[in-house]
Assembly symmetry: C2
Homo-oligomer: 370 residues x 2
C-alpha cells in the first residue's frame, strides 16, 4: 500500500533537524495546533467530556464516508472473511464504556529540544462514553487461524508522512485484540460518531494511547507476522534518534491534571484568585493500571500533600481528586502528581525521547493570590 | 464591574511591543491555539458544520452553569424588568436559523507584524443551525423606554484582559438588537448547547463577527448611553495603534475558502494530487451582504476564472462554489476570492490594523500535482 513520493518535495521546516528551538514555534506547528484540538483544562470538571471539547488528533484529513456504501472488511488468516454493514455491526451485542483517551504526543511541546509535530502542552485528553460491539466477537465469528499473530487495522484516511503516501494503519497483537474491552465503536456520548471522531466506525483500545484506536475503519486483517507499517516502525517509538528503532509506545502512563483555579489572564493564562480556602480539583488516570495516589504542591514541587481520591468513572477512565488549599497572598506555582498501582510516579523532569512521546511530567499552574 | 489588577503582574510576552516576529510563534499563542479551535478546512464540505468542528473562541474559561438555578435578567431602561428561566425562554416562539459565524481575528497570524493574541490562520469559521427565541420579543415584553440607545449583554465568563478584571460584555445599538434574526439561542444543530458554545443560553447576531454573539448570557441591560466596556473600546477596533480609538469591528467581510484538494502531507499540509480533472469546491459568505462572485486562480493569483455558485444555505449562511480544474503536473498555488453584492473583493494583501481584525485576504493552497 505504501508508495514513496518521488524525491523530497515537501517544505523543510526550521533548520531541517526535525527539532524546534525552545520558546518559539514554527507556523507549521501552529497550523497543526489549529486543526487538532486539546481539551480546555476547565473541562476536567466533567466526569464525561462534552464531545466537542474532547481532544482530537487527525493525521491527514477527516475522510468523507457514505455510511450506506461503507463496509467493514474482515480478512487475512480467518476461516470466513466478513463484509459487514453498519447495521450488521449495530445489531451485534453492544457495550458502552467510559474511556479516558490521551494522545501519545501529549506534552511534546514541553520537551527540549522539541520534535516538530503536533505541539501539545498537556491538554490532549478526554473521557467519553463509547458504544460499540466487542472486536472479539467479530474476530471469533470470522474464526482466527492457528498461525494468527497480529490484527492490522486500516483507516480510510490517507496522506503523506515522512515522504510515504499511506493510509493510517496500526496493528495489535492477537492477545490485545481479543481483550474484552476492545470495541468497534459507532457512538460517542450516546450519539453517532461525528465525522472527526471516526464516523461511521472506529476502533477503541482502552488503556492505550490514542494512536491505537484507528478511526474511519475500512478493513481488519489477521496476519501471521508482526506488521511493520509506518505508524508502527517510523513513529510511536521511544527512541533517542531517527537511527534507533526503540521500544513501541503502548499503554498510557500515569498522570494527574488540575482544573486551573480562579480566573485566567487572557493571554498568559496565569490564574488570579482570592486568598483563603480554595478547593482544588482535577482528574487522574494510569492507562491499564489504577491510580494509587495523587499529591499536590503549592510551592512548585518542593513539598507535597496528599489529595483525596474519588472513585474511577469506570475501570478504563479517570478518577477525581480534590485538595483543600489555604491560599496565601502572593505568587506561586501549583503542581499535581499521581502515582500508579505499580509505584510509578510522574516525574518533575521528563526523560527525553526523539518523538516526544509518553510525556507525563508534572503539571505546573502559575497563580497570583490577592 | 471592571476592576484593575494592582500593577502589571502578568508575564510580558516577547519584546513587550504586543507584536510577534514573523515565522515564529510564542508559547502563549500556542497555548491559546490549543484551547480555542478552528474548523479543519475539509469541514467546508458540510453545509452545516458538525458541532465538534465548528470554530470556537473562549476569552476566559468555559463557566460552569447550573441551568436550574440560572436566570436571565432583563433590566435597565425597560418598563418591566424580567427574570426568565430556561423553560420560560424555551416556551417562547422558537426559530431555527442556519448562520455562518466567523471570528473577527480570523487571519490574524497572517498579518505582519502580528498582534500577539489568538493566532488564527483562516479556519475560525463554521455554520450551525441555531434554535432560539427572537431577542426582539423579549425586549418588547420588557418594554423599551423611549430613551433607549443600546442593549448591553453580559456573560458569566470572567477573566483578566489588559490588566482589567472583567466579565465578557458587548453591546448592540437598539436598532441592531431589534432585528428579526437576532436570537437568544439554546440549541445548536438540534441539541442543547454544549458548555463551550454558551450553555444554557447565548446571543446570536447573524452577519456580525463572533464577538457580538455573547455566550453564557447572564443579563441584558437597556441603556441611554453607548456602552464603553473593554470589549467595545479597547479591543475589536480597526486602529493603527493602541493610542488610536479607530472604528468598531462589526459585520463579517466577504470571504471564500476552498476544501484543500487531494491528500495532505502531515507536517506541511501541502497537498498531493494526480493530474487531470479535479473538482475544486468550497464555501463563500459575506456577512449581511450576498456573495456575488467567486473566482479561482491556479497560478498564485496571476489569472482568475469564475467558479459556479450554489444557493446559500440560508440568508445568513455561506453558499457553495465549485470549479472544474485541469491539473497539470508540477507545483502550484491555488487561490480563491469572492466579491460581495456591494462590489467588495477580497484583497491579495491585507490592509494592516493593530488588532489583526477583519482579515479577508485571499486563501493560498500549495499543491503538488503528480
Amino acid at each position: 500500500m505504501d508508495r514513496k513520493t518521488p524525491g523530497r518535495r515537501f517544505r523543510t521546516i526550521g533548520d531541517g533537524s526535525g527539532f524546534g528551538r525552545d520558546d518559539t514555534l514554527y507556523p507549521e506547528e501552529l497550523q497543526l495546533a489549529l486543526r487538532n484540538r486539546g481539551m480546555p483544562l476547565e473541562g476536567l470538571r466533567y466526569r464525561i467530556t462534552p464531545s466537542g471539547i474532547h481532544y482530537l488528533l487527525v493525521h491527514y484529513d477527516i475522510p468523507e464516508v457514505d455510511a450506506n456504501a461503507w463496509r467493514l472488511a474482515v480478512g487475512g488468516l480467518v476461516a470466513t472473511p466478513l463484509h459487514l454493514t453498519l447495521d450488521d455491526i449495530r445489531q451485534r451485542p453492544g457495550r458502552t464504556l467510559a474511556v479516558t483517551m490521551e494522545c501519545a504526543g501529549n506534552g511534546r511541546a514541553l520537551s527540549s529540544p522539541r520534535r516538530i509535530s503536533q505541539p501539545w502542552l498537556v491538554e490532549a485528553i478526554g473521557t467519553a462514553e463509547w458504544t460499540g460491539t466487542p472486536l472479539r466477537g467479530v474476530l471469533e465469528e470470522a474464526g482466527l487461524a492457528r498461525q494468527a499473530v497480529e490484527v492490522v487495522f486500516t483507516g480510510l484516511d490517507e496522506g503523506v508522512e515522512g515522504n510515504v503516501v499511506q493510509r493510517y494503519q496500526r496493528s495489535l497483537a492477537v492477545g490485545e485484540a481479543l481483550r474484552d474491552e476492545v470495541l468497534l465503536a459507532y457512538e460517542m456520548n450516546g450519539l453517532p460518531l461525528e465525522p472527526q471522531h471516526g464516523y461511521p466506525l472506529r476502533l477503541l483500545v482502552p488503556g492505550w494511547y490514542g494512536m491505537a484506536s484507528v478511526k474511519w475503519l475500512d478493513r481488519i486483517e489477521v496476519t501471521a507476522e508482526p506488521f511493520h507499517g509506518f505508524q508502527m516502525m517510523r513513529v510511536y517509538r521511544y527512541a533517542q534518534s531517527a537511527d534507533e528503532l526503540g521500544e513501541p509506545v503502548t499503554l498510557i502512563r500515569v498522570r494527574a491534571l488540575m482544573i486551573p483555579p480562579g480566573i485566567p489572564d487572557f493571554m498568559t493564562r496565569t490564574r488570579l484568585l482570592r486568598a483563603g480556602r480554595v478547593m482544588l480539583a482535577g482528574r487522574a488516570w494510569a492507562g491499564r493500571l489504577a491510580v494509587a495516589r495523587v499529591e499536590v504542591s503549592a510551592d512548585g514541587g518542593a513539598t507535597w500533600s496528599d489529595a483525596r481520591l474519588g472513585d474511577p468513572v469506570s475501570p478504563h477512565a479517570w478518577r477525581e481528586w480534590t485538595f483543600e488549599w489555604d491560599a496565601q497572598p502572593g505568587s506561586c506555582t501549583l503542581c499535581v502528581r499521581a502515582t500508579d498501582s505499580a509505584g510509578n510516579v510522574q516525574p518533575a523532569e521528563q526523560e527525553w525521547n526523539s518523538g516526544g512521546y509518553g510525556n507525563n511530567s508534572v503539571q505546573r499552574v502559575d497563580v497570583i493570590v490577592e
